[in-house]
Amino acid sequence: MKIHEYQAKQVLARYGVPVPAGEVATTPAEVRAIAEKLGKRVVVKSQVHVGGRGKAGGIKLADTPDEAEAVASRILGMDIKGLTVEKVLVEEALNIAREYYLGITLDRGAQRNVLMVSAAGGVDIEEVAAETPEKIARVLIDPALGLRDYQIRDACYAAGLDREAIAGAGKFLKALYQTYIDMDCSLAEINPLVLTAEGTLIAADGKINIDDNAMYRHADLADLAEEGQDNPLEAEAHRRGLQYVYLGGDIGIIGNGAGLVMGTLDEVKDAGGTPANFLDIGGGAKAEVVASALELVLMDPNVKGVLFNIFGGITRGDEVARGIIAGSARLNIQVPIVVRLTGTNEAEGRALLAQTTLVPAETMQEAAAKIVELARAA
């Protein structure tokens, strides 16, 4: 789960991290009022879950409240990589002398969390990681010991942080780690950590992703969870408890198991189609889940056809077929649906499907070809 910059900063501030004075706003008038209250040069920052906001024009400086209002009216409502800006964060502008990167995330290969520090902050760190990985100091965190002070020093010295910043940076890293652990993060970043012309350190931007699996420990974050979904369909899926990813094409894909669904996306692409979504309904395929999934996929106006790819497994194929038939029967379906059913009792399942308008398919490849063809014809 992603949370917005302003929310991440609120969290970090609770852990003692200095952040710029500022408030969030949804209208230019509010922006003006905040700028007046701050009484100095401000920065207006779009709050959307996407990188490269600055390059897209979603972050602007303003010297006066008038200017802040004007800037905000351009940013609010702006489209950044397909996302509409609905909120902006209005903050005091900083006198930036240096920018550093601080981050913690999981290193899957090492099966440990990793602390990353770089003196090349303020830019896309993935770019730095890809092009000049030596500019990022990394230390693995032993879960038994936590992040130790010496590791913080190792990382800061290895990253070549300015000496005057090293002692102070430790506080930020400790707070970042504590946040990461307490909040069950999968990513916690301060980027940039700014060394101001006045010689103080401040977190100019922050990013926190929270492990969905750990949400049961954070009932207080349930509100953020929904807001964390940028796409309205993904937000709706979250409410329905469905594993849905919006992909922007015109073939709706529903299957059980992430690997199988991904394999299906691959086959649809190979057949010349463009998947509208990823949707994993998990095991069982009960009628109500099938109906809910189908309804969700069809909320996407671009969808011209739906492909079900289900492996029966322990649940028998005829039961799964009944689930799909019952689920789809509840909805007023206007698009072609291809069902590919395999596993236990698949023959019985296909026999049931034969009595419906649902189009059966024997293999993934056949199913993909059929739905692409039918959708094109529609």
């Binding site: 999981l106 899957r108 290969g109 099966q111 440990r112 969390n113 993935e126 990681a129 890809a130 032993d142 879960p143 038994a144 652990i181 069950d184 999968s186 492990d211 969905d212 699996n213 750990a214 049961y216 420990r217 594993q243 990813v245 992909l247 299957g255 059980n256 198991g257 992430a258 690997g259 199988l260 669904v261 991904m262 394999g263 996306l265 691959d266 086959e267 649809v268 692409k269 190979d270 998947p275 990823f278 994993d280 095991g283 492996f311 029966g312 497994g313 322990i314 395999t342 596993g343 236990t344 293999t363 993934m364 490849q365």
Partner: protein, 288 residues
Amino acid sequence: MSVLINKDSRVLVQGITGREGEFHTRQMRAYGTQVVAGVTPGKGGQAVDTVPVFDTVAQAVKATGANVSVIFVPPRFAPDACLEAADAGVDLAVCITEGIPINDMVAVVAHIRTTQTRLLGGNCPGLITPGECKVGIMPGNIVIPGPVGLVARSGTLTYEIVSRLTREGLGQTTCVGIGGDPVPGQRFIDVLPLFEADPHTKVVVMIGEIGGTDEEDAAEYIRTMTKPVVAFISGRTAPPGKRMGHAGAIVSGGKGTAQAKVEALTAVGVPVPISSREVPALVRERLG
């Protein structure tokens, strides 16, 4: 003959009195697995499908000699269950539970790697040695005994490929589902050496997916293997930066792409077909 489990495995079910635990206990027994004990704290002395229930894993192991444990408990209790199994000294703990917080597993996996216990999962379908023993939730009717060792990250896609192998008469020594979680107890590089050492396994099928670098790490190991490996990678067309379900299949920072995995594997002589349909033919070629 097999890796990890066989007809002599004595299986214990943690969470046996739960809905899933009880259902799959019956399924495992129906397949012929020796389920010798169950554990649910507070329900010691009861029985499920004639299997005796104990309050603790330690008691169950002591009383029944169980050496494999399969875990069907809710995510918030699963980390503790894994540690309990390891502390009780089972050889293999299979954690089926889906949805365990990542940081919990970071700690659990780091610890269990220091013990004599092997952890498989969480969020995995378990494993099956055809005709001998099934531990977990893999459907027993899609496998037959034979010379193919199979290890996979995804569940249903694996069933799909296995059943295709079976239909074409290509039986399996053991099918191992390592699960798709970001921090699994067993990775490809943990399981491949078992097949390499198993005299009955003649070819290994490895089913990977986008995200992480397990397939790339596996390629390094495969370079040193004497047995042929056939691989399949799903998610070739998935867009980067998107998490595909709980499986944790996510591509980020230029790492973990299908392309990188396919390249790493083909570089060490492993064929990686575009379509999973092609897997059986590639296996048959290598069986010679």
